[in-house]
């Protein structure tokens, strides 16, 4: 039975962005928030620092261009919006106005992956591939709300641009206790230790991967889960170490095109470093326009849901050396 909820409430879980920025705004008097009419997550910041908040209306290209201008003048702009539009409509601005002069512009937004019922206009499924191709860009994808705050905090010290991908929804899954892991941009998180297989994942599929790991553990498999929340620069040393420590058995699960995202980044490391793998499976969105449905249904339909993850891990574990 439906319950009443309004737009603001739908996004309430994302107030962590607004809260963190409101805190950081004290520390950094040159911090700005810029948005193309997606400011519902920025309320705290807007109320506290109205002179450093800019809503340019429906104009993603302008949002990014203006952020570049602010950054040229020594400011730290955070552009907050919906990722399909920021990563594609404003792609040239990101590449040429932000990455080319290597400006400290942060791009953060929701709607990464098949977030359910929006349809293909509203699913950012190519974004990580696009962003990883850009010189100077750091690329992250985050599934835990508290981590969002931590990454934003760390990004303040960065010279160049960063892309921070989030999902969207009424409820966020809290994945980690505060202080449970040492979180550093550029370093993968070994969220679960294990020796039979490593499952690499990021963002919206981390929670699901934990569930898969539980199910596999119950069948006496020892599963390592790596939250590879930084796709660029990729933590190549960790990839190499996991190959050694989990028998060269890899599964990659992601809410992104299966080709061009994390799996491709890991495959590059494997080839470039001459790592020998015993088994490798990539689960993600095939190259289709995905259609409607809720996110879980879509993940199952396209073969990167919970059961597909468990099955892929079992196949890889069973692979002969």
């Amino acid at each position: 039975m439906p319950v009443t909820f309004t737009f603001g409430e739908w996004f309430s879980a994302r107030t962590v962005i607004g809260q963190t920025l409101a805190d950081l705004g004290e520390e950094y008097p040159n911090l700005w928030a810029v948005t193309p009419d997606i400011g519902m997550t920025l309320v705290e910041f807007r109320e506290k620092f109205p002179d450093r908040f800019l809503d340019v209306g429906l104009a993603e290209q302008v949002a990014v261009g203006v952020a570049a201008g602010l950054a040229y003048e020594g400011n730290i702009p955070v552009v907050s919006g919906m990722l399909p539009f920021l990563s594609m409509r404003a792609l040239e601005q990101i590449r040429t106005d932000v990455c080319y002069p290597n400006l400290p512009v942060k791009i953060i937004g929701t709607h990464g992956g098949l977030v359910g019922n929006g349809g293909s206009t509203h699913y950012a499924v190519e974004d990580l591939s696009l962003m990883c191709s850009l010189t100077n860009m750091t690329v992250t994808s985050i599934g835990d709300p508290l981590m969002v705050g931590e990454i934003l905090r760390q990004s303040m010290k960065m010279q160049g641009p960063i892309y921070i991908r989030l999902a969207v929804g009424k409820s966020d899954m809290v994945l980690y206790e505060p202080g449970q892991h040492d979180i550093q941009i550029g370093k993968g998180i070994v969220a679960r230790e294990g020796t039979d297989v490593t499952i690499f994942t990021h963002g919206t599929t981390v929670a699901q991967t934990f569930e898969a790991a539980d199910a596999l553990e119950a069948k006496s498999h020892s599963v390592r889960v790596v939250d590879m929340f930084t796709l660029k620069p990729i933590d190549a040393d960790l990839v190499e170490r996991c190959a050694k420590e989990t028998g060269g058995r890899f599964v990659v699960v992601e809410d992104h095109l299966a080709y061009g995202g994390l799996a491709s980044r890991i495959a590059d490391v494997v080839v470039d470093r001459g790592i020998n793998l015993t088994g490798f499976e990539r689960l993600g969105i095939p190259q289709v326009f995905a259609g409607f449905g809720d996110d879980e249904e879509l993940r199952n339909k396209y073969g990167y849901g919970l059961s597909a993850t468990i099955e892929a891990a079992e196949r890889v574990i069973a692979a002969k050396k």
């Binding site: 737009f7 603001g8 400011g39 209306g57 429906l58 104009a59 399909p84 349809g119």
Partner: protein, 293 residues
């Protein structure tokens, strides 16, 4: 206008009949908002309900039983987040069943989702939802009609907030440059965006002057006054004239439901049972109020 819907007298719908249809459309919208568990863009749906009835049940030369007819008028919902409102207006016109929408909306493999997809739902003219795309596509369709000497029109419905996108104005220049009198933009001027009231964050005024400066024929319309909408559609310049037309429709986001009207919280949302009843009561009351006047 051979294929336009016929009203009770065997003629084109009267204004009163169109008003009834608009009421029915709003009721159905609320019903869906109260049965679907996810968010529905109810605010921007209610603000275009009268416009979509005027188009699908009066102005557009279309035939639900012959959706590929090359002579049909084209309609592009550039503010694609009002898709359900369009789906229901189309269902009421005979394109498909309303029940089909209610039963499958937003579900896996449904043809009916938050934003319209031409591939999944034949009868939709263009896949939209990312704002700022519709008008350039409409220019292309209108240009093609011109080159082939086809007399139909191309209509494109935009949100006023949407017209912040540069592509809209690039298309406005292209449409004028190609002298597309067969092109009609309709702007839902509800003076609200997703998170702000128009003019608070982004200044669009003097709005009609902007379109006029781009060389368009500008017509101001009361977007919830069916007689005014009908008049505007009746008086469009001939498709073979040389200036595109924009109908700037003054509207209210959330129109018809008191607690949604001009309320930023209701850009999108969902209704529980009690609030659905409250919304329906408000809709009834606003119709009763109208009849008194």
């Amino acid at each position: 206008m051979g294929q336009t819907t016929l009203g009770s007298q065997g003629q084109r719908h009267s204004v009163a009949e169109l008003e009834d249809l608009a009421f029915e459309l709003r009721s159905k919208l609320l019903y869906l908002c109260g049965t679907y568990e996810g968010a529905v863009h109810i605010g921007g749906d209610l603000s275009v309900a009268d416009i979509l009835i005027a188009l699908y049940h009066y102005g557009l030369n279309i035939d639900p039983s012959n959706i590929a007819n090359p002579a049909r008028d084209r309609f592009i919902l550039s503010k694609g987040h009002a898709a359900v409102c369009m789906y229901i207006a189309m269902a009421m016109r005979g394109f498909f069943e309303f029940d089909e929408i209610v039963e499958t909306y937003g579900q896996l493999d449904s043809a009916f989702g938050m934003h319209p997809c031409k591939v999944q739902l034949p009868g939709v003219e263009a896949s939209t939802g990312s704002l700022g795309h519709g008008l350039p596509i409409a220019v292309g369709m209108a240009k093609s009609a011109r080159q082939r000497n086809e007399p139909h029109r191309v209509f494109c419905l935009l949100g006023d907030g949407e017209t912040g996108e540069g592509s809209v104005w690039e298309a406005a220049m292209a449409g004028r440059s190609s002298e597309l009198g067969n092109l009609v933009a309709i702007v839902d001027r509800n003076r609200q965006l997703m998170t702000s009231f128009g003019e608070d964050r982004i200044v669009l005024e003097p709005y009609p002057d902007k379109w006029a400066a781009f060389g368009w024929n500008v017509v101001m319309v009361e977007g919830h006054d069916m007689a005014d909408l009908v008049k505007a559609l009746d008086n469009l310049p001939a498709p073979d004239s040389n200036r595109p037309t924009v109908l700037i429709c003054e509207t209210i986001k959330g129109k018809g439901v008191d607690f949604m009207e001009r309320n930023l919280a209701w850009h999108a949302g969902s209704l529980g049972q009690a609030d659905l009843e409250r919304a329906m009561a408000s809709l009834e009351a606003s119709r009763a109020g109208k009849e008194k006047n």
